[in-house]
């Protein structure tokens, strides 16, 4: 199991710890505080580590963890009985969740907004970042809506650039607050061309976009924000989630991007993950991909002609015409992905994105093994 959250028992006292996982019990005393010792056998207890965890669990000070397994170089946070993997060594899907607040309430949101104690969260993240491997290729930042942190987001981005100079950063944001040019400029300055902002676009029609985002003026502010990002040299990716109402105008959306946002570095059409709000509204939102692949194909075509790189996320290969396989990505995080029984023995399984293990694996009626 590779879950992000895990349980710790008995509870760990003494406040929150943020530390890197090591299997070595003999690290130098002076550096042990930066590490938690992870051992399958929960053997001897060398002093000085910030915690001792084991899959098995034995007597104090060892803690048993469940819900995940850890490996060398992972960075975790533990408070009481709650553990969270903040960083997986070697994964390209690491994402920092920087706030749970948001200024939209999108009907298909997978992480519905909540109030959150951002100050503590940020302090922990700053510390964690210093422990990440320097050869990390890409790191995501998401929320909630990260831009609500304003100046604190700028500081976090600068911190990331400072500690991980070779890492590309990918920020998920509705970009509304980037309508303030000063903010966009500050973010650009802090990130030296290493940042891409992924911005959801729900429609080419302002009123429809706003309805889906659950917020007035969202479209106008997002578009102005995206233009500002471009103005300050920040790469922008446009993300289109394939819900029923969005799919209804998918070619219009592609045309809007081609005409008005031709500088987009990437457009992603994303199959829905039915958790959070999306799960609550699933009957209204979900549409079988089999019912829209033709229109998706023509939307991709519009962007291809415009020379805008395009990808399809989260749609299984057997649903797509072969002409679209080229743009279909294995997009589902390694710790979430699952396959159906029918996938066993499918010739394209290695190339297929599979299903979200998190959402009850809602599958199209058209799923069918591919034989060659």
């Amino acid at each position: 199991m590779q879950g992000r959250l895990f349980r710790v028992s008995p509870a760990l006292g003494g406040g929150t710890i943020v530390a890197k996982v090591t299997p070595y019990p003999d690290l130098p005393q002076r550096v042990r505080r930066r590490y938690i010792l992870y051992s399958e056998t929960a053997g001897t207890v060398p002093l000085g580590y910030s915690a001792y965890v084991s899959g098995e669990g034995a007597s104090q000070p060892w803690r048993r963890i469940s819900g995940t397994s850890l490996s060398e170089g992972d960075v975790v946070r533990i408070a009481g009985t709650m553990g969270e993997v903040l960083y997986r060594r070697g994964s390209d899907h690491n994402t920092l969740l920087v706030t749970e607040r948001c200024n939209c309430s999108c009907e298909m949101c997978v992480q519905p907004p909540r109030t959150s104690d951002d100050r503590t969260l940020l302090a922990d993240l700053h510390r964690a970042i210093t422990l990440f491997a320097k050869d990390t290729t890409v790191l995501g930042i998401s929320g909630g809506e990260p831009t609500l942190l304003r100046g604190e987001l700028v500081r976090l981005l600068r911190w990331l650039r400072s500690y991980l100079p070779a890492t590309r950063l990918h920020l998920l944001s509705n970009a509304r607050l980037f309508r303030y040019r000063r903010f966009a400029a500050d973010v650009g300055k802090a990130t030296d061309n290493m940042l891409t902002v992924g911005v959801p676009l729900n429609s080419d029609v302002p009123r429809l976009h706003d309805e889906i985002a659950g917020s007035q003026h969202a479209f106008d502010e997002t578009v102005r924000g995206v233009l500002n990002l471009h103005r300050h040299g920040i790469a922008v990716e446009i993300r289109v989630v394939l819900t029923r109402s969005i799919v209804a105008r998918i070619e219009g959306i592609a045309g809007f991007i081609r005409r008005n946002l031709p500088f987009a570095c990437h457009v992603a059409f994303m199959g829905m993950e039915t958790v959070g709000n999306a799960a609550a509204n699933v009957d209204r939102l979900w549409v079988d991909p089999a019912d829209f692949v033709d229109r998706l194909e023509s939307a991709v075509g519009i962007l291809r002609v415009a020379g805008i790189p395009t990808s399809i996320y989260n749609l299984q290969l057997c649903l797509l015409p072969r002409s679209l396989w080229r743009v279909a990505r294995r997009s589902i995080s390694d710790w979430k992905v699952e396959y159906l029984p029918v996938c066993l023995g499918c010739a394209q399984r290695h190339a297929c994105c599979g299903f979200f293990g998190t959402d009850g694996m809602r599958a199209s009626r058209a799923i069918a093994q591919i034989t060659e």
């Binding site: 002076r30 550096v31 210093t130 320097k134 650039r161 100079p165």
Partner: protein, 344 residues
Amino acid sequence: MEYEVADEAVDFMFQGPSQTLKVEFQGGEPLLNFSLVQHITEACEERAAAEGKRVEFVVCTNLSEFTPSIGAYCRSHNIAISTSLDGPPDLHNAHRCNSHALVVAKIDLAREWVGADRVSALMTPTSLSLGRVRDIIDEYVARGFSSIFLRPLNPYGYATLAQGLSMSVDEWLDCYREGLDYILWLNRRGIRFREEFAAILLRRILTNVPAGFVDLQSPSGAGTAVLVYFGDSVYLSDESRMLAAMGDDRFRLAVLGRETFAEAMRSPTFVELLLSTMTEGVPMCHECAFQPYCGADPVGHYREQKDVVGHKAFSEFCKRHMGVFVQLFELLETPASKILTGWI
């Protein structure tokens, strides 16, 4: 340094043929005169842009005066930071009047602004450091550094002069060996950490990339790869400047405003010095197996033997380098070579 003199210095260095220049600000404490640092930085940037050259900057500072606004300036002008960290609190504090807590806090602040990989620290060993090399390395690891430069003692440093805290070459070599072995052990424990001197030598031994290290060039890197500007004079090296402070200015290459760069480089004494420091022809070096990787140290040899070439049998430079070469070539024959080559 006066602003007018600084302008002359900038002019002098841009007369040279190098396409990439590296400007290192030293003191005293450069941050106490940061407006001069800014003045020189911007003058260099302007010249570099006009002439299509590249210029890089480093400030050598104890960081005590470092502030976020200095950090923001360094960040936007790509100025790296080099500071001093001699080891764990007791050792650092014994060397540098109780400044350990301050410097480690400022290192973190500097990292946030300038970039973790652009803030480096140097340690100065003294006899107090003997037997403490593991502690020193632990301190660097604990403070989040990814490398250390296990340096030999600077013979003109304040510590040696004022307190007689020197260390013999043999003591240093033992210390170096213990440190290197310990660093290799740390790497086997999943802690990625480099020893810079070994990394430089390995680059020299195993690649065609120029080491860019002043001690490892033939003829002398002092004067060709590095010039030191102090007051209105240009010296061959930092050590030359210290010699001059003690009354011997034979390694002063030029006086700003008096000689041009070309005149300084053509001066008979300098040409003579270069000719005599070609290790290919120096007695003992010419038949040494390590000659292709080694270098010359005219100023050091002069200090030691009153001769810029020096008899290598009595040369600390030779003994130190030979000792390290032997260690490295031995290690390259062991499984540790995998770790070592990863440092290149």
